[in-house]
């Protein structure tokens, strides 16, 4: 008999926490995980992104207590006073747990929006598939808390902030929040998600799962700003089910973490629905950033759009995987996918894997990819106008990313992204130029 121990499967960092579950869902997920383990390079979906970094740690369940003044400092840096994000209702998690004292009171949420914590009555929902996605199985087994937002039909809920902070402790910690957002028919919501954390001493692993359900004619805009600590690991999975005439428009900006993956599974279930899975990454020394998506056209006359731009300095590595599956029923599908990378150093690299799987015969699907350096003619043009070389380079990099961020419709989210981008760019380019 071949005994399989969790350590054979890359599960050693979580081993102590993956036993003795009481409820069936967690037990099943842990069972799935014990069978498959965490994916290695032979698993196609994880061929380009290695999870080896997890193996350097034993991740503990985080303490429930944290240094409140340190949290306030981070919160203020993320949400500057009198900035555009400050007035928005917010839900704040620290180390994977909702902290009511830091969150807006329930009464201040827009009418027709209900919030509840996952910890109160764990509801794993039907969308996530722990059997297929090991990181979702890990989340399912270890999820403690998360947010559950429900927007009643026809309610225009405006903007809500979801902030996930990590406060590191002496040892490594991991947290696996489980979120869900449900929009009733004709409802709308702009969810602005920010993931960030304190630098050191211990590393942390943030492994959120978000399930979005967008009913007929509803509109969900989901903007994510990932600026985790430098040695953090961020592996997120988003599911979006989109009914007819509904839209899920998303944008993710990846700036932080040593290893990050934003994986989206979006399914267009009714006709005339639309999905945008856009994003940008600005990565520097030793960072790996992965944007992976599976967009399923399961109904006719739907539109999917994907534009991802990567700027890589130093030894950064980006991964783009974009699969578009057009089912037989999905006639008149209109799909577009574009992945572009600006490589600012000879040691940076990107792996890009577009995949089209089409079973309908009347569809319009295009995809493309570009990889290159800064354009010498553009640089010369700027310099000939008196702008010094370093400033000219920064302008062109910013322009490249700004063009992607301009796809964000919501102006507050757009402004917040712009600010974060400029800040990151100034520090990243400065670090890179000092090094080279």
């Amino acid at each position: 008999m071949n005994a399989i121990t969790p350590s054979d499967r890359g599960l050693a960092p979580f081993e102590a926490r993956l036993s003795s579950f009481q409820d069936a869902t967690r037990k099943a997920a842990a069972g799935d995980l014990a069978l498959t383990g965490l994916p290695g390079p032979r698993v196609e979906a994880w061929h380009y992104t290695s999870l080896r970094a997890l193996n350097s740690y034993i991740f503990n369940e985080p303490d429930t207590c944290f240094n409140e003044s340190a949290v306030q400092v981070i919160l203020r840096s993320l949400i500057p006073q009198s900035g555009c994000l400050e007035p928005l209702p917010r839900l704040v998690l620290v180390n994977g747990r909702v902290v009511p004292a830091l969150s807006s009171p329930a009464a201040s949420l827009p009418e027709g929006v209900t919030f509840s914590a996952f910890s109160g009555s764990p509801d794993f929902g039907m969308q996530a598939s722990p059997q297929r996605d090991p990181l979702v199985a890990l989340n399912t087994a270890l999820a403690v808390d998360g947010i559950k937002l429900v927007v009643e039909p026809r309610v225009k809920a405006g903007r809500i902030l979801l902030i996930s902070l990590a406060m590191s402790s002496s040892g490594a910690i991991s947290f696996h929040p489980r979120h869900s957002v449900t929009l009733g028919e004709g409802a709308s919501l702009t969810l602005i998600e920010i993931a960030a954390g304190s630098e050191g001493p211990g590393a942390y692993f943030h492994n959120p799962v978000l399930s979005c359900s967008v009913a007929e004619g509803a509109h969900l805009e989901h903007i994510k700003l990932q600026r985790e600590a430098a040695d953090a690991i961020h592996l997120a999975t988003v599911y979006a089910d989109i009914a007819s005439h509904a839209t899920y428009e998303s944008f993710t900006l990846g700036l932080g973490a040593v290893l990050a993956r934003h994986e989206v599974h979006a399914t267009l279930r009714g006709s005339h629905a639309g999905v945008h899975v856009n994003g940008a990454q600005l990565l520097g020394s030793g960072q790996v950033g992965d944007i992976t998506s599976v967009i399923t056209h399961g109904a006719p006359d739907c539109i999917s759009r994907q534009t991802v731009r990567n700027v890589l300095t130093d030894r950064a590595r980006a991964v783009f995987q974009g699969k578009v599956l057009v089912e037989r029923v999905a006639q008149k599908t209109d799909g577009y996918q574009m992945n572009q990378a600006l490589l600012l150093s000879p040691t940076a690299g990107i792996d890009a894997k577009p995949e089209l799987e089409i079973y309908a015969d009347d569809v319009k699907c295009s995809h493309g990819a570009t990889v290159g350096a800064l354009d010498e003619e553009q640089l010369f043009y700027l310099r000939s106008r008196g702008i010094p070389d370093a400033g000219a380079r920064q302008m062109l990099v910013e322009a490249f990313l700004t063009e992607a961020a301009d796809l964000v419709q919501d102006e507050v989210a757009h402004a917040a992204l712009g600010t974060a981008l400029t800040e990151a760019l100034v520090s990243r380019i400065a670090a890179w130029e000092n090094a080279s």
Partner: protein
């Protein structure tokens, strides 16, 4: 008075499939302060190469000769230093900069140049005032300031945008590389007026053109004919009229 620009025996080549191809073959040219000079010549004679070499484009290799600008060795300066020193090149084909807002670009450039010249930077209000005045003179819409630099601009709009930059950067020497090409009569008049407005004892221009019409507006002090990488003849405005009537054949024969 000393010369503003003095080019002596300038040779420059470009890499063509691994071999150097000589394009400038001993250019001699002097432009005194306050004068407008024109360079005319057949396609491929090296006019645009000369303008790029003067502006500091790196892919051209200067093999011999010298260029002094306001007494400084121009060839030793970075492109941005040349701009700060007062040199401006209006591009024949202005480059598109997707995602770079035209107004931001202009303000960044103006303030970079002002900083380098030891002048105070313009704040948002001061800049807006200056740019509004300039765009009005050039019949440019505010919308063109809000768009990405040259993206989706018509040929005429791009040329006007070059003249706008020139106006804002206040150069002592502007090189206009076929700024009149592809313009209709009205656009040509607007662009020419824009250049003419800058004429002063502290402003010189080197105008590269194929056409008499722009020169009629500007009233050049001297005309130079370029052929096969050299200036083969210099003269007064009457030279332009001779070219218009007879073409370049006789000058080419001289250069051969």
């Amino acid at each position: 008075m000393t010369d503003l620009l003095k080019i002596s025996g300038l040779h420059a080549s470009i890499d063509a499939d691994g071999k150097p191809k000589e394009i400038l073959r001993g250019v001699d040219l002097v432009i005194p302060p306050g004068e407008v000079h024109a360079i005319m010549g057949p396609n491929g004679c090296g006019k645009s190469t000369l303008s790029y070499v003067l502006a500091g484009r790196e892919e051209y290799d200067v093999t011999s000769g010298s260029v002094t600008f306001m007494g400084r060795d121009l060839l030793d300066m970075e492109p941005e230093e040349r701009a700060a020193a007062g040199l401006f090149l209006a591009f024949q084909s202005p480059v598109e900069l997707p995602g770079v807002n035209n107004a931001n670009f202009l303000r960044t450039a103006v303030n970079a140049v002002r900083r380098a010249r030891g002048e105070a930077e313009l704040d948002a209000v001061g800049f807006l005032k200056a740019v509004r005045a300039a765009t009005k003179n050039l019949s440019m819409s505010d919308d063109m300031l809000k768009r990405s630099v040259n993206v989706g601009f018509s040929g005429g709009e791009k040329k006007r945008n070059e003249v706008l930059q020139m106006t804002m950067l206040q150069p002592t020497l502007a090189i206009l590389d076929e700024t009149d090409s592809g313009l209709d009569v009205d656009a040509l008049r607007i662009v020419a007026e824009g250049v003419k407005n800058l004429r002063s004892p502290k402003f010189s221009a080197l105008v590269i053109t194929h056409h008499q019409r722009l020169l009629d507006y500007l009233g050049p002090d001297r005309i130079h004919v370029m052929a096969r990488g050299r200036i083969v003849r210099s003269g007064g405005p009457e030279l332009a009229k001779q070219i218009d009537a007879e073409g370049y054949a006789s000058f080419l024969a001289e250069a051969a």
